[in-house]
Symmetry: C3
Subunit: 278 residues, 3 copies
Amino acid sequence: MINSGEIKKQIIQAVETVKRTKPMAGSITNTVTINFVANAQLAVGGSAAMVYLPDEGEFLAKAGGATYINVGTLLPIYEQTLPHTAKVLHETGKPWVLDPVAVGIGSLRTKLLEQFREYKPTVIRGNASEILALAGLWGLDGGTKKSNVRGVDSTDSVSSAKDAAIALARYTGGAVAVSGETDLITDGSVIVLSYGGSHFMEKITGAGCSLGGVIAVYATAASPFIAALTGTAVYNLAATRAEKKADGPGSFQVQFLDELYKASAEDIANNPFEIIEI
Amino acid sequence: MINSGEIKKQIIQAVETVKRTKPMAGSITNTVTINFVANAQLAVGGSAAMVYLPDEGEFLAKAGGATYINVGTLLPIYEQTLPHTAKVLHETGKPWVLDPVAVGIGSLRTKLLEQFREYKPTVIRGNASEILALAGLWGLDGGTKKSNVRGVDSTDSVSSAKDAAIALARYTGGAVAVSGETDLITDGSVIVLSYGGSHFMEKITGAGCSLGGVIAVYATAASPFIAALTGTAVYNLAATRAEKKADGPGSFQVQFLDELYKASAEDIANNPFEIIEI
Amino acid sequence: MINSGEIKKQIIQAVETVKRTKPMAGSITNTVTINFVANAQLAVGGSAAMVYLPDEGEFLAKAGGATYINVGTLLPIYEQTLPHTAKVLHETGKPWVLDPVAVGIGSLRTKLLEQFREYKPTVIRGNASEILALAGLWGLDGGTKKSNVRGVDSTDSVSSAKDAAIALARYTGGAVAVSGETDLITDGSVIVLSYGGSHFMEKITGAGCSLGGVIAVYATAASPFIAALTGTAVYNLAATRAEKKADGPGSFQVQFLDELYKASAEDIANNPFEIIEI
């Protein structure tokens, strides 16, 4: 089993590679938090580009080092854009991060998320309810038949999504990150719990979405598992630091972007985590 | 007639219920200020979710405690989504807030706003020119035949929209909030003027839109009139406080979100207002 | 050739006219940075309005003093909206600013940018790779056959785009602004280099887009060349000032909006620039 020294080494490598190479991770993402996703990607050292059209999704999939797909606010054209882009990503072996926001709402969302089963996202990031519902939708162990998603919020605990997360990671051969008070990251063979964060993360919109975008940036430079863990660790670290300087959710958001930018590779690697055998 | 003590009691109840229950108010709103709407809704203690598609609008209408509809940046799909969602809201008796942004621009906007007449929005929030033009479009007293809307800005004074606001509130059986230097809220039988605010509110985008979203949050926990007044009061209070700490519109926006978050129920209830007999 | 005293005088006039008249500059722009564009336009004293539909684009084109068109995140309806709006702008002689974001990506983007050749944008603002690629697309001197655009980033230097910028300006009869470490503005007969800025401008999204929107605001009150130069100058000035107070990209963005708002006409005119004969 991977040990904590090896994990830290790989996190440092991922962070430094990104800062040095400014890798592009394109996104097809919701309009609510699209600006925050881009700014977070830039803050950690990546480059961002967002599109809506099928051939532009294909372009970014091929041109970028990784891609971020978030189904938050679906538009009609997504019926063509998302499966096409996911197919290109799968066929070219490019890493991509899926954020199954609000799985269970609406027929197109369900159809798209069912289609993604075939294209095996490299990293799946969501809250506990989303991970449970996606595993259920894909007929995997540990999933829930019915989505407990409440709008964009989770009604389940991170630990309750452990089996679903493991099943999803084993199915895709990639990694899964379950976001919550303590975050759970797994590649199907090991689980890491990442600590830190802030209560303000629930008082701003886009904490989860932008983490998905940042994981895509790291996925250009690391394994799915390390990318998911690195993104989660820098988020927990930056949120902990930002909360100390914040007077409310407005100033927290500003401080959080500053801390994302300032976090060193060593500090990210040393953000508290715990390895758990499966 | 309702007295100021009763009003304050109901405002306190609305604010505390929201902070305790984190009610979801879904939105179909413009892309310019969608992030600010969501962050403002979260700051006062609510939960936000935004969609574009017809069946997703229906889902949110049914799942949320109230819904916010803003016609700022129309997309083609809105021709289906907006009337369908408004119809569901009307039929299920769920409260909803209409923001008739830039009424008078374009044929789809006019058609949609005409259709909303039948579905009687619980709260209508707009600037004076919008309220005047909507009353005119619906053939109500006090309205203007021709919209004086200049892009998204008002060219009329709040007091000039008094009769239109009363007529709209009497027609819908709900409440109307006219935003301006001094804000006017009416349920058709009484008018309340709400004081405070900041000149910076005109120097940032989304002050009005996000107020509409926040009123929807309070509409999950109070009458339309109290919801409109509570939202307006917390905005005037937070803006007054934020201006003192702000050095320009950038820092004002940050401080404003912080103050929305920090405002206590008592302070919101005690924000200066005046009751006027009709 | 225009001298620096005359340039400064015209910059002061543009800034003061905007602050006094609050001119509206409508936009059809991408969803990533649409909020930042609007806030920047408001910060310098203008008024903002954004739309997506063809008849609404026409309305804004006629109602506004100038219009900003940015092809960053294309939606299907843009196939109708953008050529229609650009045609109206051209026929009515209204100034408009084109931001050819990510030229070279996707078939609709290419088609639209080809169509704009006929409607001669008054100001073209882009990074060096975009200016080179647009000149190439339009078959002008100095352009590149193949776009070197990398997502939304430039891979070429500002100076390498000098000939392309001159050719574009001569073709349109307007002005071109090439954004980079040192910015180049030309009307085809003279070049001005504008100094200042901050390394943080590359660490936030929307620095370029919002500059385009601000140039549109100034284009309501000045020649294309002076509008492009005034916008660039206030950006360089505000960025220089904001960097001194910023601790990272989050606080930089806040400070930058504050400094845009606070910059005086004289300070903008005195921001360092250099006139170069062609």
